[in-house]
Symmetry: C2
Subunit: 713 residues, 2 copies
């Protein structure tokens, strides 16, 4: 909560010093002062520059140390070369909160990075918090306190206040978006640009805004995730509070390029991981500046949708077709209205209109506006309708009248009403202003309307979903604490067996004479596999024999394996040969993997084998642990899911048992958080419904492993 | 060319009668007259309404027959009930061109449809052409002749003329788009709304605009394709002329729902077919109104891109990241600059900038604008750069200066220069106006910029591709003229063999005693399959036996097949049993199908078998015939293509031979245009590289077929 207190000072400073202030008010060092005076900042302002005695009627001080009063926040507009000296002065003057505008730090290379580290160290020792460097500033919109040199601070019209908080790593993106959003009448509480975020980062800001009573929506532009655990914590808190988090994660293409060692690793690469985390924790992810404005607009209205059923009222056939075209790929449903609702609407609209969704209320509704309002009232009362879209192109005075009526109706219902008002600014701009000023989400195009509704529906679904048990079992199984190196198939299967996850009946044979032990214990046919923590690919060294029908064949197989392994992997330590019963039942081959992500901890990955993983890279990812419904969602995401449901005349597979196994492995991964480098159960045979799931091979590589990475065949 | 002459009259009328004119100029029947006078129409206007003697200073006539002069175009603003009488008058008055604004026709149901048919029949007999009904109007932008009641006709600022022609089935969509595009300074030549398009349809309009010397870009909003062959013809012509066709095809979700009988049919459903046709013939397809504006904007500049290599000059790190994020999924490449280019740029920009793409020229370039211009000049000269994006957020006077400089440089080069100028209208709107008025494509967001460049690059690639031989072999093979019914496997294989497409060596056995004939002719093991034009699924009736090792087994297999077929399909006509050698080589199973599309004629479909087609619906479609490079493109589109390249340790397959076979089948399909109901070669075994391709089964159902649809196993 230390940084949260700092955020309070940055956003509500009692007094502000501006170090390196300039009389050129169009310069970066002049703008912060002129912006504060333009918006009539109520606290004390202390300009600091030895060149001046006075600036804008304020006494100008030669140094921070000359300021008579207390300085809450100091804005530093001097070259990075003077920063260490300024820090000394801040320390002496007991200034705890600094905004560093300047560049010349980590963004310019090694030297700058070293300077940034020195600054951070010194600041930490002195208990100083820093916003920046390389940042444009921040804005308390509620109180009209602009700190910095963003061009959008220079507006003479004042800021539109509202319930959206926004943190942006990039100043250019942040304040461009802010400007565009304000143009569309989206009101803000706070906006902060974090720049190089050496101390205060985007998630700190988002956490602060989330707890702010007047902020209902929190958005962030992030080029990196400063703290994965913190993102999860904020996401959980956002669900508790019912405040959506909108995130634009930039740098996707770059991060996607990180090479990875094994399948699981390559699939759990950062981009896919972030997407999975976003889905799992209900983050609203957007792709560009327009999408973020659309999301802010619909969420700032603060309504939720009960489902994905959309109805459209329109006076244009083309708009109805467009809505239908967009709804399907976005996962929305243009709901089929009940006969009751239809006949009620038929009595309201002209006979040449249509009461089928998309509803055509005809251009007559421009003059007889009761057609509009009465139809709206009917749909509001229909529980089968989750969201109402009004699509119109009406401009002029009558168009404005309709907008006012929609705004009034919107106030009286909890059901989301979204408007598409297409047309030029000249023709329909005033109508859009009426709606947006009343808080009704209004879009220029059908596609943006439907996209925004998709955001709302996805978030609402997540919000209404029974609260998942987020608590994570951090207690560690004592037995497992000292695990090291590579656990081979036999040991992994022993563990799976103890977890009530089925494995084929097997016996580990340490030498040839022990082969007799399998008589009466295992049923033929059997499989033989070499067990060695030094052998990565068993088949590559001739270490696997299938379909062994009797004792004689078994002895031959054993000898062949030992000889082949000695030949192809000379000197490799052989722990034994695993003899196990062959599975004769039909099934689908899957894999379940665990991968420790540096940001988000243990991830669980699953997918179908063969071409699904190798050609189509078809895998689902979640952060461990997960619940049964989440495991089911993972499976449903797979392109190959129809194979589990049974296609091509095959029977349905045991998906229920499979989800249980995924959950168990996810719990195991969570309990062993930070210890597992990699775990792979592959293949996992999913039998027909009711027949269960059997793990046919598996490996665990513990982090303290001294051998190289090992994967199973 | 008959309709083209009509288009000339509609767009350039020498005189206009307005039937049912009103003195209420805010009504649909009043607006056409006030729009014509507002834009100072030079021809004669004849208002027609028995209620008035004079209107707006013009003599008003009681009926068309009272008009003294010749009437070139008559606008009909009366109820559909009076339409037949008006038609009579037009016939008497020898008026050949009518615009019907009113509704009450096909769009309102059966009665309206009948009326529409009657009107069309009468008009045809009288040599009258009709635009509409249920249409808003049309606009000759070049000559400022607005015909109709679109709200955008009421602008007092005049229309922005330019090189974009646009035909829209929907009036609401058409004139909304027109308004928005004009706001962004996109200039038009013509815009026509076709409404119910009983006579003149969207493609007629597009064809006319395509041939217009001052139109360089033709766009269409289509809810249906009025004439598939015509679309192909226009597309080919557009390539000859180098004028892109931009199409928004609405009603996709609806059309996609059409049920289909077989795999090939369901995959060649209208939406997928249209997408395939669009790709094959270089149509620029867009998804919504914003995308269409973006496409119009970039194409109206009339430059082409030499490739997909993009370079970005920016003064914001975030913009660079955004460009990188968007480029990859859009198929664009942020090119790696040559060391030469980099070092040249390094000498221009400040030391803290970056000469790596995305190039950061720093905010210093606002003051020292030579940094901007010199960097641009370097990139223009670099042949490794196909398109240049300038990304900036600069507003104010200096921002405007930069925009003017970019516009000047853009004039001097054939290389596309695209600008992203992010920021509010207040701040950066003037800069955008400077650029767009100079014809430089300028966008508000990075995403829209990259999307537009994608359109340009895709189209340019298509345009520069060696001209495909579009000529279609319409001559018909005499032998095939009388084909009827179902061609079973044996006959299809005979034909494939004659086309030099490999099939397994086989012998058709008509009765048991002929089994001896295979001795010495075929090599064991062999396969036996029943041949019957009345049996759809051979395996379902026990009609297939595999892996027959010798004569004895063969006899047994033969008997079993005959018995089983007689039992499971009693009375079915058995043509014989096909005995063929089993293929022992490794291969990948594919299918090639032919499907007659009602709009576009014979389509060729191909894909991989198994889960690829059954679970993933993975298939490529083209209109037949195609060339080798197109066949290769079809294969590359498949999700399963990596299997042909050889994954999972398998060898590369004979893709070369496969493309030849696809081309041959496409030629066969084209030669038999209108005759084939369905053709399916499945499986087609693609062997390893150099080993060829073998058709293992196949069926053709000719259109004159009297039996029900038959598909192979």
């Amino acid at each position: 909560m230390f940084k949260q207190e700092a955020m309070d000072h940055f956003l509500n400073p009692k007094s502000i010093a501006i170090v390196g202030v300039s009389k050129n008010f169009s310069s970066i060092s002049g703008k912060p002062l002129s912006n504060l005076t333009l918006h009539e900042y109520k606290g004390d302002i202390y300009p600091v520059n030895p060149k001046y005695d006075e600036i804008k009627g304020l006494t100008c001080y030669a140094s921070l140390l000359d300021i008579p009063g207390e300085v809450d926040v100091a804005l530093i507009a001097v070259s990075h070369k003077r920063i260490m000296q300024i820090l000394d002065e801040c320390e002496q003057k007991k200034i705890k909160y600094l905004v560093l505008f300047g560049s010349g730090f980590a963004e310019v290379g090694k030297e700058g990075k070293q300077l940034q580290e020195r600054v951070l160290k010194k600041a930490k020792n002195a208990g100083i918090h820093i916003l920046g460097p390389n940042c444009v500033g921040l804005l308390n919109v509620k109180e009209s306190i602009p700190i910095g040199f963003a061009t959008s601070f220079e507006t003479k019209e004042g800021f539109k206040k509202g319930n959206v908080g926004f943190a942006s790593q990039s100043g250019a993106f942040g304040f461009s978006l802010f400007g565009l959003a304000q143009e569309e009448n989206i009101g803000f509480s706070y906006i902060v640009n974090t720049g190089n975020q050496m101390d205060i980062h985007t998630l700190d800001c988002m956490e602060y805004m989330l707890e702010d009573d007047e902020t209902d929506v929190v958005a962030g532009y992030l080029e990196s995730i400063p703290d994965g655990e913190m993102l999860i914590r904020i996401a959980k808190r956002s669900k508790e509070l019912g405040k959506p988090l909108i995130i634009l994660k930039a740098g996707r293409s770059h991060l996607g390029k990180k090479a990875a060692l094994s399948h699981t690793a390559s699939l759990a690469g950062s981009e896919k991981t972030f997407e999975a985390i976003a889905k799992q924790y209900g983050l609203v992810t957007v792709n560009d500046i327009d999408d973020m404005v659309a999301a802010m607009k619909i969420f700032s209205r603060n309504k939720k949708a009960n489902g994905n059923k959309v109805v459209t009222i329109s006076n244009s056939g083309a708009a109805g077709i467009a809505m239908a075209d967009y709804s399907e790929p976005l996962g929305l449903e243009l709901v089929r209205l009940s006969p009751d609702t239809q006949s009620t609407i038929e009595r309201i609209i002209p006979p040449y209109g249509s009461a089928l969704n998309p509803i055509d209320i005809t251009a007559q509704a421009l003059k007889e506006q009761h057609i509009f309002t009465e139809t709206l009232e009917v749909l509001i009362k229909d529980d089968n309708v989750d969201t109402i879209v009004v699509q119109t192109t009406f401009g002029g005075e009558l168009g404005k009248d309709i907008c006012n009526k929609i705004a009034n109706i919107d106030k009286k219902t909890e059901k989301p009403i979204i408007v598409t008002l297409t047309g030029t600014n000249e023709l329909t701009g005033e109508g859009r202003d009426i709606l947006s000023e009343a808080g009704v989400p209004v879009f220029l195009t059908s596609y943006n309307t439907m996209l925004a509704i998709k955001y709302l529906v996805d978030y609402s679904n997540y919000y209404y979903k029974s609260n998942q048990e987020f608590s994570e079992n951090k207690q560690v199984n004592d037995e497992l604490v000292h695990n090291k190196g590579v656990w081979t198939e036999d040991k992994v299967k022993e563990m799976l067996d103890s977890m009530q996850i089925s494995v084929p009946k097997n016996i580990l044979v340490k030498n040839r004479t022990d082969l007799v032990n399998i008589e009466g214990e295992l049923e033929f046919p059997v499989v033989c596999k070499v067990v060695s923590n030094e052998i990565t690919h068993k088949t590559d060294v001739g270490g696997v024999k299938l379909g062994i029908k009797n004792s004689a064949e078994l002895k031959v197989a054993y000898d062949e394996i030992i000889n082949s392994v000695n030949k192809h992997a000379p000197g490799a330590n052989i722990n034994g040969v695993l003899i196990e019963e062959m599975i004769k039942k039909n099934g689908t081959e899957m894999f379940i993997g665990v991968k420790e992500d540096p940001q988000f901890g243990p991830l669980i990955v699953c997918g179908l084998g063969g071409i699904f993983i190798e050609v189509l890279k078809d895998a689902s990812i979640r952060r461990a642990p997960i619940q049964v419904d989440e495991a089911y969602e993972m499976l449903k995401e797979l392109k190959g899911f129809p194979l589990l449901e049974g296609v091509r005349g095959e029977k349905e597979k045991d998906v229920e048992k499979l989800t249980e196994v995924i959950v168990k492995i996810s719990q195991f991964a969570s309990q062993n958080r930070g210890k597992i480098k990699e775990m792979d159960i592959n293949p996992l045979m999913v039998l027909e419904k009711g027949e269960g799931v059997i793990a046919l091979d598996g490996v665990i590589v513990w982090k303290e492993s001294t051998t190289s990475t090992v994967t199973s065949v």
